[in-house]
């Protein structure tokens, strides 16, 4: 077999939106800087929508402001996290981007819950890379009693044995389950909104956006930090991405992992194009400008989407990353990421929400 990557070069359909003139873009970026840095107020969604239309040539200027906002609101520390798919595949949900749904013919073979020894070994690998956070992820709609017991046994064990903050991603939870996770010391609970409410039915039909929103609320009600991610590049419009930023504000996440669609074989979204690298930088910048105090984490799809622009994301508002492999796909080598952070002179450490 050829030992080379597939060339994934279909162009993303560009929405026919009128771009700002260079002069209007400069004015809009300057005004955003005054708001976020001098007045220290959030931008309105209308202001964000205007910034979304700066011309490609002004994206680095937009990114420079996003970087300044990140430094001012969050500091220069970068949070490094490792994630582990502790229960893979066979999921009853039909999230159209996901290779772990049992509804699609995917190459990913379902696997039962990993042994405790496997989970601890993965946590130790994560700690050895200087990470402070370790997320145990399960491909399920929500946890049953047996799964609750396993997770609640693992969380304090990983904390004590490895000394990492432990996050969990186990789907839709009830109030009682959220309470139990908080009691065993779950530091952050991950539950993604994925996309705007108005686009959600194009992505998932087995549960509603409102169910996701409710779980996000329960997590915060129980005093856990909410990690609430998004996935860009599924065909949502510019307006829907702005809508999503507004909806994220409503759930007040401590962390927002920013995923870019990496089209998976066998899924309904297998044929969608990758987001263009400069377009990805535009949206990293806009998410930072829209959510100035959150931990904005590089997550899935960054390697294939950004390619040579990965370091640029760290000066466009990103202040956290997933190191090493993802759930069913591999990442670039951790050494490359650590070298990148060292070259950028950004210290590694734990973060919590600025305000």
């Amino acid at each position: 077999m050829p030992d080379v990557p597939v060339t994934l070069t279909p162009k993303a359909p560009i929405e026919n939106r009128e771009r700002l003139t260079p002069q209007a873009a400069r004015t809009a970026v300057r005004a955003a800087g005054v708001a976020l840095l001098d007045e220290r107020r959030q931008l309105t969604l209308a202001e964000l929508a205007e910034l979304a239309d700066v011309p490609d040539s002004a994206v680095p200027t937009l990114a420079a402001l996003a970087h300044e906002v990140r430094l001012e609101w969050c500091g220069d520390t970068v949070e490094v996290e490792g994630i582990l798919s502790a229960k893979t595949g066979g999921c009853p949900e039909d999230c159209h981007f996901c290779s772990q749904s049992a509804k699609f013919e995917s190459p990913v073979q379902a696997m039962p819950f990993l042994d405790t020894a496997d989970v601890l070994a993965a946590a130790r690998e994560t700690a050895a890379l200087g990470a402070t956070e370790f997320c145990i992820v399960l491909a399920i709609r929500g946890p049953d009693e047996r799964t609750m017991d396993r997770i609640c046994e693992l969380v304090p064990l990983v904390q004590q044995e490895v000394g990492l903050n432990v996050a969990v991603s186990a789907g839709i939870v009830t109030e009682a389950q959220a309470k139990r996770f908080a009691e065993v010391g779950v530091h952050r609970y991950n539950h993604n909104l994925e996309t705007a409410e108005s686009f959600f039915e194009n992505v998932v039909t087995t549960h509603t956006w409102a169910e996701r929103f409710d779980t996000c609320q329960l997590v915060r009600d129980q005093g856990m930090e909410l990690c609430c991610g998004v996935l860009l590049g599924m065909g949502e419009s510019v307006d829907q991405r702005i809508e999503l930023i507004g909806q994220l504000r409503a759930v007040e996440p401590a962390e927002v992992p920013l995923n870019f669609l990496n089209p998976r074989p066998g899924t309904p979204f297998a044929g969608l194009p990758l987001t263009e690298p400069l377009e990805a930088i535009r949206w990293i910048s806009l998410f930072r400008l829209g959510l100035p105090s959150v931990i904005l984490r590089y997550a899935g799809g960054r390697e294939v989407t950004l390619r040579e622009l990965q370091a640029l994301g760290l000066t466009s508002g990103i202040n956290a990353l997933i190191v090493g492999n993802y759930l069913t796909t591999l990442g670039r080598s951790p050494e490359e990421d650590l070298q990148m952070l060292s070259d950028l002179q950004m210290p590694i450490g734990a973060l919590s929400k600025a305000i």
């Binding site: 077999m1 597939v6 893979t88």
Partner: protein, 59 residues
């Protein structure tokens, strides 16, 4: 022994279309000996893949 099946799509190599179906950051998903789906454990610093019939996949 050379592969009989594509590790990334599971097609018999004798019938494999003339396209590169390996993606750089995907672990192997099919047994090169029998074409069945592999049990793959992905973790931070590596992965292990094994076939129910042919055991661990060695490079």
């Amino acid at each position: 022994m050379s592969d009989a099946y594509c590790r990334w799509c599971g097609t018999a190599l004798a019938e494999h279309p003339d396209i590169q179906c390996r993606r750089e950051l995907d672990p192997p998903r099919f047994c090169p000996e029998c074409g069945r789906r592999l049990r793959v454990k992905v973790h931070t610093a590596g992965y292990e893949a094994a076939c129910r019939d042919h055991g661990p996949l060695l490079d």
